[in-house]
């Protein structure tokens, strides 16, 4: 099926069904914040988030806005701005199904997914409380060794990888550069929906220098232009994180009323402005 180039980010968000298992990249790689805000505006519910391999502002917003049922992650953090407040509240309220992991376990699960394999073994983990609580992880004896217990992780196959990139073309080729965790997400997910800072009229795979950093359109079902689409987070090679905004979020989101006010001002109000 050809890639759809969508002009309206709300229409892209409408393609994310309630209950979907969604992969989102760590804050440092620039997750699709504009699309996340559109998801909150559309009132998405019951999402199962897979953080690759950690979550930050995007994940905290989705949790606080009531969009998330299950969370598979190695950590949720606002980095130097402290603990993620909505995540902490949801844990205390018991409103999330938590699938705590460790970074390489998320990558390994996705690697199993991209290879079409049922599972991937991984070192470490044995005897940790992570492994004790992750009943979907299995301890086996290395079939090629002797008395060598090793943990097997089920493949992670997200319904959707949601990513933001600097550039796409009209064939849905996405330039991610050396952010290869985004390539892994796209390979493993059933479909990828992407936003991009700009749409290029040529072909990104024609340029030999760019090509190794391109997710080919075969994985991608729709793209939309979203200038500043990772803000207030940074996008490597394009812009830095807006520290002032992050500090403001950390401050406002400390209680539910402040969080609601943040949504009104920075998530819902944008729609009003666009209408």
């Amino acid at each position: 099926m050809p890639v759809q180039v969508i002009t309206d980010i709300e229409a892209l968000a409408a393609r994310v069904p309630d209950g979907a298992r969604i992969a989102l990249v760590k804050s440092a790689s620039g997750p699709p914040m504009a699309l996340v805000r559109a998801l909150i505006r559309r009132g998405a519910r019951g999402l199962h988030l897979v953080c690759v391999p950690t979550g930050g502002l995007a994940v905290d917003l989705l949790i606080g806005a009531g969009c998330v049922d299950a969370l598979e992650t190695s950590a949720v953090t606002l980095d130097e701005f402290g603990q993620a407040p909505a995540f902490g509240r949801a844990v205390r309220a018991g409103s999330l199904r938590l699938l705590d992991a460790t970074c390489p376990a998320v990558y390994a699960g996705l690697q199993a997914g991209e290879k079409g394999l049922p599972f991937m073994p991984l070192r470490g983990l044995v005897g940790s409380d992570l492994a004790r609580h992750r009943t979907d992880w299995k301890l086996i004896d290395n079939p090629f060794g002797e008395d060598d217990p090793i943990v097997c992780l089920p493949a992670i196959v997200p319904d959707l990888a949601l990513i933001h990139v600097r550039r796409t073309d009209r064939q849905g080729n996405l330039y991610v550069g050396d952010a290869r965790e985004m390539m892994l997400m796209a390979h493993a997910a059933r479909e990828t929906l992407a936003t991009a800072e700009s749409i290029f009229d040529g072909s990104l795979v024609d340029d030999a220098a760019l090509r190794p950093g391109v997710i080919p359109g075969i994985y991608v079902s729709a793209v939309a232009e979203a200038r500043d689409g990772a803000r207030p987070l940074g996008l490597p090679g394009a812009y830095d994180t807006d520290d002032e905004h992050l500090a403001q979020y950390a401050d406002m989101a400390r209680d539910e009323a402040g969080f609601a006010e943040y949504l009104d001002r920075f998530v819902f109000d944008r729609k009003a402005a666009a209408e």
Binding site: S29, T54, S74, R123, G124, D129, M183
Partner: protein, 260 residues
């Protein structure tokens, strides 16, 4: 300032951060490749000092930096390197650390509905098993952080014999002392106490039992960086660590605005 010597009779010549950077550099001696995780300006500076002192024999990779690492395979690369034995030293911390070297980065109370929830385990449940020299680093040394038994084991200090485990804790360095980890005894041993602090103070603030070799009066003071090291830390090292941590370089190491 908490980072300066408390003894009023002595002119504070160095900051706590600089003492720790110097000691960390010593702990890393002989490593071929040291990796440093996110939010770790002091370990990162210690690794860069160790690299300088190695005369170029040591490789250092600082995650989250553009100039201090040259990974090209995305987030997974550091973990693949660790599993292959290509990383000799790494740093971990914990909201709680116990006397068996178990670390907890998840939270306080009964999992999953904990009363205090921290970020999560990050790469600890893997790297702690695989990197031979893991240095635990925690600037708050209290009975709240140094506990008898962690509430959640993000990664255990030791494993049963048949578990593949080339890695594990090597040392625990805090704002008041340095412990070495004894893998055979599965316990910490007090190695040195920072100037201005005492063994009694360490005991009072530690929730777990640890070994103290023979006469506790024999516990040495953590060595203070000499003038040439201090100059290095405030110059070359500060300039390099300013890439990922500009605020730290300016405020703690006194790096001036355009000195790079």
């Amino acid at each position: 300032m908490s980072g300066t010597l408390r003894d009023a009779a002595v002119t504070p010549r160095y900051r706590l951060e600089e003492l720790l950077i110097g000691r960390i550099a010593d702990l890393l001696e002989g490593s071929r490749h040291v990796a440093v995780g996110a939010s770790s300006p002091i370990p990162g500076s210690g690794a860069l000092l160790a690299r300088h002192l190695s005369g170029g024999d040591m490789r250092v990779s600082v995650l989250g930096s553009r100039s201090l690492q040259d990974f090209t395979d995305g987030g997974v690369e550091i973990f693949d390197l660790a599993a292959q034995g290509r990383i000799d030293a790494f740093f971990l911390s914990g909201g709680q650390i116990d006397g068996a070297g178990n670390i907890n980065l998840v939270g306080v109370g009964d999992y999953p509905r904990q009363k205090v929830r921290w970020s999560g385990s990050f790469g600890s449940a893997y790297l702690y098993y695989l990197v031979p020299r893991v240095i635990l680093f925690r600037l708050e040394h209290t009975r709240r952080t140094m506990v008898e038994r962690v509430d959640f084991i993000s990664a255990p200090g030791t494993s049963v014999d048949n578990v593949y485990r080339p890695g594990g804790p090597y040392a625990l360095i805090t704002n008041i002392c340095l412990f070495a980890f004894d893998r055979e005894r599965r316990r910490f041993r007090l190695d040195s106490v920072h100037p201005g602090h005492t063994v009694e103070e360490v005991r009072d603030n530690t929730g777990f039992d640890f070994d103290v070799p023979e006469a506790s009066t024999a516990i040495p003071e953590t060595p203070v960086p000499d003038e040439s090291r201090l100059a290095l830390i405030r110059g070359e090292i500060a300039a390099a660590i300013a890439d990922p941590y500009p605020k730290f370089a300016a405020e703690m190491l006194g790096l001036e605005g355009n000195s790079t």
